[in-house]
């Protein structure tokens, strides 16, 4: 059986993090979300993946060039019109039965196996959710789908949502072609019209399924996945380093004397940390990043190629790829109401969210919940109390 993975979208709600890479490539516990999907699909015995790419496709293609054990075919969706349209791009590569997944949801191998081995021609994975109104809400009777309503306006008691993971036969393409010719590009409405035509779709419960919709989702999902990430100690660890709990350290990484690291913590390849730096749960530090002496990092995602100067404090924050941060930097942690694409969210503990490739001077303080765009320059001795849009300079 083949799998089609939809990975063409940008993920606007995750800006500025998605300004330099597609949503599916954002790292959770040092692995792109898409890689979790690939792993689950491969481990369930599927031999070929068709990935529908679009927005910043080269980032995906370059990353997975060394991915082992499965054939990967890329198809391009030039305009991101919708999920049904995306799936249609893969039509010529699938024969008979196949599964569809979205590349930005973490899923486990067991759930996929259940889906593959289900006998009905069409089936889907569903999952209980506390905030169903954000998703496609599912009504089923005896595990047969009755109705799929996308983002219902009022909070209903129906608590099951569609994971967007389906098993289809190629006959689905007729329905999709029909729908897209009428200007309807969403997979959910294709499913709904399939049901209306009297087709049976089995519903199966997924075990682990996590959707990343907003930047703050990343920190909690990072924490969950950091606990289950494989631990290994590579690189060189100097005398006088304390490692507690589950700590994973990549190859060619140097941990200098006096560092205190409490897991779950994952540190990538080619990093340098310390001397005397403290890393606390649940933190992921990407490849080639450097943390200078006397800095403290807690519950944060530090992506690849980041430089953090000495005496810095970073907590509950996301630091995008390629940031250069001077010494004595602080991301204040506290309560904040964040706004994303017109939606507001109250958060108790949140630090800063910094887009890729910024250059931040020394003694900079960022207030809780503030978002710094891509390629910003923040001059030394600044306190940032407002969001900073991409490519701007704060002198």
């Amino acid at each position: 059986m083949k799998a089609v993975i939809l990975a063409a979208g940008e993920g606007k709600r995750l800006r500025p993090l998605t300004e330099t890479m597609p949503k599916v490539m954002l790292p959770v516990a040092n692995k792109p979300v898409l890689e979790y999907v690939f792993d689950a699909v491969r481990n369930s015995g599927i031999s070929e993946i068709i990935v529908v790419v679009g927005y910043k496709k080269e980032v995906i293609m370059e990353y997975f060039r060394e991915y082992d054990g499965i054939d990967i075919i890329y198809v391009v969706q030039d305009k991101q019109l919708g999920t049904a349209h995306a799936l249609l791009q893969a039509k010529k590569h699938v024969i008979d039965s196949f599964i569809v997944l979205s590349g930005d949801n973490i899923i486990d191998q067991k759930s996929i196996s259940k889906l593959i081995h289900n006998e009905s021609e069409y089936s889907m994975l569903v999952k209980e959710n506390l905030h169903p109104s954000k998703y496609g809400v599912v009504t089923a009777e005896k595990n047969i789908l009755k109705e799929l309503v996308e983002k219902p306006p009022n909070e209903t008691l129906k608590r099951f949502v569609s994971t967007g993971i389906y098993k289809f036969s190629t006959s689905i393409f007729d329905t999709i072609e029909n729908a897209t010719s009428q200007g309807d590009y969403s997979l959910s409405s294709v499913i709904q019209s399939t049901v209306e035509q009297g087709k049976k779709i089995s519903t199966i419960f997924a075990d682990l399924w996590m959707d990343i919709a907003y930047p703050w989702d990343f920190l909690s999902i990072n924490e969950t996945m950091a606990h289950s990430a494989p631990s290994s100690l590579g690189g060189s660890i100097e005398k006088g380093v304390t490692l507690k709990g589950k700590v994973s350290i990549g190859n060619n990484t140097n941990i200098y004397s006096g560092c205190y690291i409490v897991g779950p913590v994952i540190i990538g390849d080619g990093c340098e940390i310390g001397p005397n730096a403290c890393i606390f749960p649940s933190t992921a530090i990407g490849n080639n990043s450097v943390i200078h002496p006397f800095s403290e990092i807690r519950n944060s995602i530090i992506m690849n190629d980041v430089h953090i100067g000495s005496n810095s404090f970073i907590s509950h924050s996301i630091v995008g790829r390629g940031n250069t941060i001077g010494h004595n930097f602080s991301s204040m942690m506290g309560k904040s109401t964040m706004e994303v694409e017109g939606e507001f969210k109250k958060l108790d503990d949140i630090g800063a969210i910094v887009g890729a490739d910024c250059s931040i001077g020394s003694h900079v303080v960022i207030d809780p919940g503030k978002i710094i765009g891509t390629r910003c320059t923040l001059g030394s001795m600044n306190r940032i109390i407002k969001n900073v849009s991409s490519n701007s300079k704060v002198m």
Partner: protein, 604 residues
Amino acid sequence: MCGIIGYTGHRAANDVLIESLKRLEYRGYDSAGIGIIGEKLEIFKEIGEISMLQHSIPKIKGNLGIGHTRWATHGKVSKENAHPHLSCDKKIAVVHNGIIENFKTLREELENKGHIFTSQTDSEVIIHLIEEEYKGNLEQAVSSSLKKIQGSYAIVVICEDEPEKLVGARNESPLVIGVGDNENFFASDVTALLKFTNRVIYLDDGEHCVITKNSIHIFDRNNAEIQKKENTIEWDFNDAKKSGFPHFMLKEIYEQPNSVQRVLRGRVLEINRSIELPDNVERLLSDTIDSIHIVACGTSLYSGMVGKYLIEKITNIPVFVEMSSEYRYFGTKDRSSLVVFITQSGETADTLGALKKAKNAGNRTLVVTNVIGSTATRIADGFVLTQCGPEIGVAATKTFTSQMLSLLLIALKIATMRKELGSDEIYSYIRNLKDIPRQIRQVLAQSDKIADMAKHLKDATSVFFIGRGVNYPLSLEGALKLKEISYIHAEGFAAGEIKHGPFALLTKDTPVVAIVTRDATYDKIISNIGEIKARGPQIIAIADEKDTEIEKHADFVLRFPTNTGLLSCVSITVILQLLAYHVAKLRGCSIDKPRNLAKSVTVE
């Protein structure tokens, strides 16, 4: 260059040979053939693509065979000249890579003895020699035939009467043994084998080897059996796939943020403020060095020229750059000089020739290469690996940037050993080095803009590239990339030399690409641009993102991120690569396999 493959084992030889030949396609070829022993020895050859050959072959049963991709050197492209070549009795077949220098005399002798030649190749003499020597034991026949041959060769021979074995031999052309379970291989290049095995044994000059599906016996020049170490290749088979990119070249351009990290990783320590190279390289560099010679060909030569500027600036040691093909015959062998050879494959015939000359003359030799275990790494006193993974596109991209950075690391290492750079200066170099991957990503994000610019070059019949200092070799590289993949005539010049001759060629239809960095010669290059512009050509400037003056002088501007003078060479290179790529793409050229070119030139 020609590619060779040999197989014996449990699989259908037909499939293994075709699959492996496809992996060798990137080396460049014009015809291909295979020979398989089933019930009897059968040969199939075709001109053009491997897929043509694949379709022309009937289903043959047989688990042992040889295959070859040919890149014509002696004799035109034709079915007759394609390998494998057969003996007169059609029982023995050979595939060969290399050049037999005494083939004319050998051919006359053999013809006098009644052998009938069917091709114009030098290779065919080998098979008739073997037939002449054959008395029931193939390896003995091969070994005694090779004694009469002068020149370079990698060969694999099979014989219908001994249908279980393959005999391979090498001299100055690459040949490796692939070790499998209940199967074994020969190949001119490990890439061909990666789908089947990653365990290889490298043969050295003068050695020959007999393999069956479950045994390997290697013999030296004197026919004494020897034991050799098995190596494990860490490249992945997937490394040699296009991974969704339309061309290998584009994939390799996009890999550069990563490949650059691989050059630096474990070697550049920011907090330690140190550069770490292998011990034997550090020993070589810690000796007294009065001068450095850099010897290379093609793109590697240009990275060497960039290296000259980097090393001289950082260490004050004079550097001389020479072409391998010249150095090996005319180079001065100054024994106090360290000689650095640059070869992507580690198998470039001219560079190997030069390396052997330098080594025999008593020079200290250092190789910068991408392939561990290659011939060059085994001859030289020390080697620095560029660690790029396989490069398949014939036009070198990621290996060029990694070569430049490897030379920079060598320069920084020498300077720290000699205490010519203080700790803070080293730190600042390290910080700037670590910024390079992000700068490359920034350039890659401009790919669409560069594609737009390519429209101005696509109809040109001639393009000039100019620059000063380190930008001069970059101009040469930019011109080389453009000419090799888009077939537009292109030349790189030191900007100051333009008016000493090349000016005569400038017309308004000759676009000029000018590389402009904000260094001591900024005003000079701006005035060069003025002089050129007065003659009417369009000017595309490649300039620093903070340069606000340049728009006044150039027609179009492509920007690279600011870095210290010497280190912007990497981002500039990426712009030049993308420019050449997009021009070639607009012109519909065969980007990964340009006409007449081969990836690693293993003949002189």
